[in-house]
């Protein structure tokens, strides 16, 4: 069954059972919604914001050259009207849309795109996303402070911008869709300085109305938005500082439309089994994998047999029951919704006897003692206890170290600490829907450094070369070939078993009955947690 939205602009179809066809022309703009979050919104500066709550807000205030079809991980053009990629995959040229205006009324041009990228890669900006632009020529000089402008970014004319890369980079279009690349107006950034994040001005579908620190933010519809028909709502109010349990109670009373932090674990079964609320819940996959890392630089995890034994010892189904079934078992690093996922791969099956045999082969018949680091917030310690019991069954005595998030991350990044880490609560959620994002920082050699995110310190030179080769396949026609290359890389990683993948978390969004829109936009894989531009209000239809 098909449901079409945005006729004439971005025509897309979503397979969704049980929905009746609604045509875009039928959906009237107007109405409002209330969204709650537990934590404060720190900043709305696209060069800096990297939190759960501000990620999609920034996407609705700003635009980049590229974006994704709503509710999917399929790239589409956004501020770019068109683009060309050179045959060697090292030059990307974008034609910009004409007549796109910033919220302050000035037209956006190629100069703004260049300025935004110079700004995000300038160390003084302290952007957590600067590293994504590493393939642009001149990035190194920006990083060490010897240049103030990216050599590889050229303004050809006001509506054309050219990027030269130091290597072919198949992920570059994704990089041009990530928040850190979004276009900001120079005059506003200079006016507000370090406080631009509290006074954001972009080209996006919404603009910031008011912001009461620590209490609420109001987004108003940008009436001059270039993408006619969007956004659907006139206004969104974000209320912050709301505990998820309280947000859920308010949603049930009709005071809140979306509980931004989802359904609290303690209330999950109650809500899911209540027929009144069950139909308000949307379930979707997410680009997330929860895993146990084993430090390959520490004994006995330097032995592949020990790592494989751990993979076979963990009872994943039981762990998923502990979290009320909010996940699916994982047997490889990539989540099922990620291109390159190996559907037919069976992984290491739960097999206690087999695990014991492998330990015996490694000369550890009597097992050994180790430490399992875990983030100290429920349900992570409970999951760690289940893993601890599973390991005890094959003779591994793991002591649980339950610490604050930043401390677990710090220990994970040391070569001689944290022999095992359960990644829950800190686990990798992809920055963009491409398999390479699950390799470099967390399984590649570049992440296996002090303070890095490769907590296994796994570094396989042969795979590193294959990864570089895979990312050099920039021709869109060879997409399948590139996916296949990545698939085989991840399966070969599993032979070395630096991780024991445990599960892929599912997302559950609860939204009020008065909100309309295809289910997929409420569990959007990129506009996390939901796609604010596409939601409409049923009460103004």
């Amino acid at each position: 069954m098909r449901k079409t939205l945005l006729a004439g602009v971005a025509f897309f179809a979503i397979a969704a059972a049980g929905m009746t066809a609604v045509h875009a022309d039928d959906i009237k703009q107007g109405g409002q919604m209330v969204v709650t979050y537990k934590d404060d919104v720190s900043t709305l500066d696209p060069a800096i914001g990297y939190d759960w709550q501000n990620w999609s807000m920034i996407k609705s205030l700003f635009d980049g050259l590229m974006d994704y079809e709503p509710g999917t991980s399929t790239l589409r053009k956004d501020l770019a009207e068109d683009y060309t990629i050179s045959d060697d995959g090292k030059t990307f040229t974008f034609k910009l849309r004409k007549g796109v205006k910033f919220h302050n009324g000035r037209e956006m041009t190629a100069e703004d795109v260049k300025y935004s990228l110079d700004r995000v890669t300038n160390p003084a900006t302290q952007s957590p996303g600067a590293g994504f632009f590493g393939s642009i020529k001149g990035f190194d000089k920006m990083a060490d402070g010897s240049a103030k402008s990216l050599e590889g970014v050229t303004v050809v004319d006001p509506y054309t911008i050219k990027f030269e890369l130091t290597r072919p980079d198949a992920t570059f279009l994704h990089v041009m869709a990530i928040n850190f690349s979004f276009v900001v107006p120079k005059e506003e950034v200079e006016k507000w300085g370090a406080d631009f994040g509290k006074h954001p001005v972009g080209t996006g579908a919404f603009k910031l109305g008011e912001w009461t620190l620590g209490q609420k933010l109001v987004f108003e519809r940008n009436k001059d938005y270039w993408n006619a028909g969007l956004p659907k709502l006139d206004q969104i109010t974000f209320e912050v500082g709301q505990e998820p349990v309280v947000a859920l109670l308010r949603l049930q009373k009709g005071e809140v439309d979306v509980a931004g932090d989802g359904i609290p674990p303690a209330k999950f079964l109650e809500v899911k089994n209540d027929p009144t609320y069950a139909k308000l819940i949307v379930e979707g996959g997410q680009l997330h994998t929860g895993y146990v890392t084993m430090k390959t630089t520490m004994k006995p995890f330097d032995n592949v047999k020990v790592r494989q034994a751990v993979n076979m010892a963990i009872n994943k189904d039981r762990i998923i029951r502990i979290i009320n079934g909010r996940a699916v078992p994982a047997n490889q690093p990539l989540p099922p919704t990620m291109p390159g996922f190996a559907k037919d791969y069976e992984g290491y099956k739960y097999d206690v006897e087999g695990a014991k045999r492998l330990l015996a082969e490694a000369g550890l018949t009597d097992g050994f003692e180790t430490e399992l680091y875990v983030y100290n917030t429920d349900p992570q310690p409970r999951i760690a206890q289940a893993i601890q019991q599973d390991l005890a069954a094959i003779g591994i005595k793991a002591e649980i170290k339950s610490l604050a998030q930043a401390n677990v991350i710090a220990a994970g990044g040391e070569p001689d600490q944290a022999p095992m880490v359960w990644s829950g609560g800190m686990a990798w959620i992809a920055d963009f829907p491409d398999p390479s994002n699950f390799y470099g920082p967390i399984l590649g050699c570049s992440g296996a450094v002090k303070g890095g995110w490769n907590w296994s310190y796994y570094c396989n030179k042969a795979l590193e070369e294959r990864a570089t080769a895979a990312d050099s396949i920039t021709d869109p026609a060879k997409k399948a070939e590139r996916e296949e290359a990545w698939r085989s890389i991840f399966l070969d990683i599993m032979k070395d078993a630096p991780w024991a993948p445990v599960f892929n978390e599912q997302r559950f969004t609860i939204r009020s009955e008065r909100l309309g829109g295809p289910d997929a936009i409420f569990v959007d894989p990129v506009h996390i947690p939901i796609n604010y531009e596409q939601v409409y209000a049923k009460d103004v239809q």
């Binding site: 934590d39 404060d40 720190s42 900043t43 500066d45 800096i48 990297y50 160390p123 003084a124 302290q126 952007s127 957590p128 996303g129 600067a130 590293g131 994504f132 590493g134 990083a143 060490d144 402070g145 370090a194 406080d195 994040g197 509290k198 620190l213 620590g214 209490q215 209320e239 500082g241 709301q242 505990e243 349990v245 309280v246 109670l249 308010r250 009373k253 005071e255 604050a404 998030q405 930043a406 401390n407 991350i409 710090a410 220990a411 990044g413 920055d431 470099g440 920082p441 450094v449 303070g451 995110w453």
Partner: protein, 306 residues
């Protein structure tokens, strides 16, 4: 008196310096690396190093502390690592909410505590007395997040009398004030009860009775003003209790005060905010205690300043 005040002020200043130093050391010793946290998970080593230098995190400990302390003396609490805002601005925007909540809590605990203690003392040994004292015991012992969630569930969700958390109107203020005030109300009820019983035994009360004054006059004119003095003297000390209480209560009720700010900052190891809130709380506690010590002798001549 003046030399006493001067001595106490000097003491307070030393305490504040001590607290700032201890907190700074503890946060410095945390294994978490703020530069890495700001730089994010995909940062290059150069970016991290550059941020470390910009924030002065590469300096030796004593220089970092001196930098911070110098800033403090100029009213500069630094800039939040993760909120990207001046800490002063964050605290200033949230302080009024916390002060309002504390005022509400003081009102609740005084009214509840004095009323309960008074009734208990007058009905000493009765079932009512035992019941009230049991209630005050529960108030003193029960964790605030339990009381808070219970109140929300009963009065907001089930009965619908009050809004479910939030900030803005008088009805938003009632439940969080009660939750925060219940602990102190329990203490005050017990204190008021014993103080009242003691006063009622005094000769001047017997005299008042024998003069033929009515029971109400004796209690409210003569007994109560004497019995209430130790309770009033305690209010300053309560501010310290509130400082720890607001962290929990503000989080439960979504109250936009500095307690909630502290809680969020602790979870994310946002050191400048943790430092700032700790210092503001310490200041409040020191001032509260100072006030308690200075006010007590003014209202109760039996207490003498040495």
């Amino acid at each position: 008196m003046i030399s006493y005040v001067a001595r106490r002020l000097l003491q307070s200043a030393l305490i504040l310096v001590g607290i700032s130093l201890v907190t700074f050391v503890l946060l410095y010793l945390l294994p978490a690396d703020p530069a890495r946290q700001i730089a994010g998970r995909s940062a290059t080593a150069e970016t991290v190093e550059s941020i470390r230098q910009q924030l002065g995190l590469n300096l030796p400990f004593y220089q970092q502390y001196l930098r911070y302390a110098t800033g403090l003396l100029h009213g500069d609490f630094g800039r939040s690592y993760l909120q990207k805002t001046e800490v002063v601005e964050l605290i200033a925007s949230r302080l009024p909410a916390s002060l309002l909540l504390m005022a509400g809590a003081i009102t609740c605990e005084l009214i509840l505590g004095i009323a309960m203690g008074l009734v208990s003392a007058l009905r000493r040994g009765s079932g009512l007395d035992n019941g009230l004292m049991l209630l005050s015991f529960v108030g003193v012992s029960a964790p605030q997040f339990v009381i808070g969630i219970l109140m929300l569930y009963v009065f907001s969700v089930q009965l619908g009398w009050f809004p479910i958390g939030g900030y803005g109107t008088f009805s938003h203020l009632v439940l969080p004030s009660l939750t925060l005030g219940v602990l102190g109300a329990g203490w005050y009820a017990r204190m008021m009860r014993s103080s009242m019983i003691e006063v009622l035994r005094q000769d001047f009360i017997r005299t008042a009775h024998s003069k033929g004054l009515g029971r109400a006059t004796v209690i409210f004119r003569h007994a109560l003003p004497n019995a209430i003095l130790p309770v009033i003297a305690m209010i300053g000390i309560d501010i310290g209790m509130f400082m720890s209480g607001i962290v929990v209560v503000e989080s439960v009720f979504g109250w936009p005060g500095i307690g909630q700010l502290a809680w969020q900052a602790i979870q994310r190891v946002d050191i400048p905010i943790i430092m700032g809130v700790t210092l503001v709380s310490a200041l409040a506690i020191v001032v509260g205690n100072l006030m308690a010590d200075l006010i007590a002798p003014m209202i109760d001549p039996r207490i003498k300043i040495r």
